[in-house]
């Protein structure tokens, strides 16, 4: 069965239509990469999938693991296995990173009818994942993202993904802000999580991430539409030629009403 099925999705923010008819199907085990110029709607698509309410869907439908995603609240979507690594992770003062993650994991376990983990059961899991991402133990008790460097925040997002083990993970420009070594470590962490039951949507501007995380499909989003899809080689082509040629092509084929 399809894990994600997006049909003719239109969405607006602050009264402006940003997504203008997206169709996308993702099967378990696949990695899709979404590329496209600034402002084309990549993050908007991610936020809609995560059910942010200020992003209004005006047409279309989305099935997530066979269920109607658009009727879910953000926390329901999350508990159903939807994860988004934020392009700009939020700081929340006074909340310990470990405490927060255990609360999140337990909220999901509860939703799925599993027992909650106490601090003692949680600790080894947390330590193991810290190690996977080569993160210092002091990230356990520091306040959630508060004062984290840009790269540390991104790494912390992937740590959360590793602990929450989603069915679908959307990584929104996780590579931006990472130094060369961090990029490799984070990519290794992501690769370690690839599995036949899990799919990923990787939003990025750069080939360098896709050198590590090799996608099965690459889609190019321009002005709210997927204007071209292909294999991993499409990213290489974009790296070489930029978006101009695709944009020109897209304008020629787009419906006049847009």
């Amino acid at each position: 069965m399809d894990l994600l099925e997006i049909r003719n999705l239109h969405a607006e923010v602050g009264g402006n239509e940003i997504l203008k008819g997206i169709d996308l199907t993702v099967h378990p085990g696949e990695v899709h990469s979404i590329m496209g110029p600034n402002g084309s709607g990549k993050s908007t698509l991610a936020q809609v999938l995560a059910r942010r309410e200020s992003y209004q869907v005006t047409a279309g439908e989305i099935l997530f693991d066979g269920k109607d995603l658009l009727s879910m609240k953000p926390e329901e979507a999350a508990c159903e296995g939807m994860f988004m690594a934020f392009q700009y992770p939020i700081e929340i003062p006074g909340i310990g990173n470990a405490h927060f993650l255990r609360s999140a994991l337990n909220a999901m376990r509860k939703y799925r009818g599993l027992d909650e983990l106490d601090a003692i059961d949680f600790l080894p899991l947390f330590r193991e994942k810290l190690k996977l991402l080569d993160m210092d133990e002091r990230f356990m008790n520091r306040s959630l993202n508060e004062g984290f460097s840009g790269g540390e925040k991104k790494r912390n997002e992937i740590l959360q993904m590793a602990i929450l083990e989603p069915k679908l993970a959307i990584l929104d420009e996780t590579d931006s802000g990472l130094d060369i070594d961090a990029l490799r470590i984070v990519a290794q962490g992501v690769n370690a999580m690839r599995s036949p039951n899990r799919a990923m949507i990787v939003v990025t501007h750069y080939q360098r991430l896709l050198n590590y995380i090799i996608p099965d499909f690459v889609h190019v989003l321009v002005d709210g539409r997927i204007v071209r899809s292909g294999g991993a080689e499409l990213a290489l082509e974009l790296e070489e030629k930029g978006y101009g040629w695709i944009e020109t092509e897209a304008r020629q084929t787009a419906p006049a009403s847009a």
Binding site: P89, I92, M108
Partner: protein
């Protein structure tokens, strides 16, 4: 903040769960206030002459203020005039005189405290916490008295202290908060009916938390209790205070006074979780919580630390402060004040630096939701002799929704140029982006709000004794439920 906040409003609205009334016969005196009433209260308590004289002096002072302008008008709170002749100043549950053991306590009262989570019976007492239970105007039970007595610690009701330790009472009563301090302090001195008294002897570290649980039960009454804690040289005590009241449409007045005295090298830690009935969602009813709390660091190297979590009451008006008289003495004030619906709080502290190298720390966290109004009012005074005094003040406000208000009124007076003062302030709103982030990780909206608020209060919560901190966090969650809009 759009639709995510509306969902908060839709969440099951949890009522104030401490709002029940205990059906019990009480003994009350006639309504109103005059010298006769004062004499009656004093007689009921079989007080020595010095106490009656003290009360009458306070009453006359209060009556003169009442004529002039009644309550002080500077606080940023609004309410209709209080009719002091329409209040019953003394109400006590009828019980057999001379209880030999706590287990003889009226079962209704015992059940009340059990329901509130404060078991008084020998077998089920809270481990490590001695409780003085005050029910309306009188103290009905004090646990662990004998065990404390072995160490020379006195912990009993104020009435019992007047009877058994009149010298101690005489020596310290009114020395920190004189009856002339303010309108409500005068009223309290005139009519106070009971409260707790603790004395920690020289060099003794009190091995358990001392606590008082105040419960208002009777209607149309006011509660006026008085607490006096004296920590003798080199001693240490941690004291907790909690309170609740039934749900009623009328407002009820609670005007307490707390006096703390710390002698040389002594330490007092005073924690409050204030959860009086806050009124309903439209702002009807609730307690007027007008209290005066002050500690005197009388001795060198002494320390007094106030921690308060104020979630209840229709109106809160209180400024627990420290007089830093002894050289090197330390005063601290950690506060969380939450106002939801139509609650109003005007709270803060007063730090008066007199001795050399005295230090004070103020951390105030105000949370406003609904139509709540929250004011921080703090005074830091460095007197001439306070060479090398230091103060650090941090004052943060968190707004939830856009119909509430946060206000800050700092007063600073420095008469010694060597003083070192630091002041930080911030105001923030819970952002839709923070809530969404937490929801994206699977947390329900109300848990997300609660988590952000708890994070905001962390600096204060970590000052509370462990089991209180957990309570306080839960209370904050409940107080915010169904509220954000």
């Amino acid at each position: 903040m759009g639709s995510s906040i509306n969902t908060i409003r839709d969440l099951t609205e949890q009522d104030y769960k401490w709002g029940f009334v205990t059906a019990i016969e009480d003994e009350r005196i006639p309504r109103g206030l005059n010298e006769e009433i004062i004499r009656l209260i004093s007689a009921k308590k079989r007080e020595p002459e010095f106490m009656l004289e003290w009360r009458l002096r306070a009453y006359r002072y209060w009556a003169s203020l009442e004529k002039a302008q009644a309550e002080p008008k500077w606080a940023n709170v609004h309410y209709s005039p209080i009719d002091y002749q329409n209040i019953i100043y003394y109400s006590a549950p009828k019980q057999k005189p001379g209880l030999k053991s706590l287990d003889e306590l009226d079962p209704e009262i015992r059940r009340t405290y059990e329901k509130l989570g404060i078991p008084l019976a020998e077998q089920q007492r809270l481990a490590g916490v001695a409780v003085d239970a005050v029910f309306d105007s009188v103290s009905v039970a004090t646990t662990f008295k004998d065990k404390l007595a072995e160490l020379g610690i006195i912990f009993c009701s104020f009435s019992e202290a007047v009877e058994k330790y009149p010298e101690l009472v005489k020596k310290y009563l009114g020395t920190v908060v004189p009856h002339t301090d303010n309108f409500f302090a005068a009223l309290n001195a005139a009519v106070f009916s009971d409260g707790s008294f603790a004395y920690i002897p020289k060099g003794v570290r009190c091995p358990m938390e001392l606590s008082t649980y105040f419960r208002i039960n009777a209607a149309e009454t006011g509660q006026f209790e008085r607490t006096l804690i004296v920590a003798d040289e080199g001693s240490y005590v941690s004291y907790l205070e909690g309170c609740t009241a039934p749900i009623r449409d009328e407002n009820q007045l609670h005007a307490a006074v707390v006096e703390l005295v710390a002698l040389d090298n002594a330490q007092i830690k005073y924690s409050t979780v204030q959860n009086w009935y806050p009124g309903d969602k439209q702002g009807r009813g609730g307690i007027y919580n007008f209290v005066t709390k002050r500690g005197k660091c009388a001795g060198v190297n002494s320390k007094i630390s106030w921690t308060q979590v104020e979630t209840g009451s229709a109106i809160t008006w209180k400024y627990p402060g420290c007089i830093l008289q002894g050289d090197n003495s330390v005063g601290e004030f950690y506060s969380v004040a939450l106002t939801n619906n139509y609650q109003q709080a005007d709270t803060g502290t007063k730090m008066i630096h007199m001795g050399k190298n005295t230090r004070s720390t103020i951390v105030s966290k105000g949370i406003s939701a609904g139509h709540g109004q929250n004011s921080y009012r703090g005074m830091v005074k460095i007197l001439k002799g306070a060479v090398g005094a230091r103060n650090y003040t941090q004052c943060d406000s968190l707004l939830i929704g856009d119909q509430c208000g946060a206000h800050t009124f700092p007063y600073i007076e420095v008469k010694n140029a060597s003083a070192h003062m630091e002041h930080e302030a911030s105001t923030s709103k819970i952002g839709e982006d923070q809530l969404f982030y937490l929801q994206q990780r699977g947390l329900k909206l109300e848990d997300a709000v609660s988590m952000i608020v708890n994070g905001f209060c962390k600096q204060v919560f970590r000052e509370l004794p462990m089991e209180f901190a957990v309570e306080a966090q839960k209370l904050l969650g409940v107080s915010l439920e169904g509220s954000v809009g």
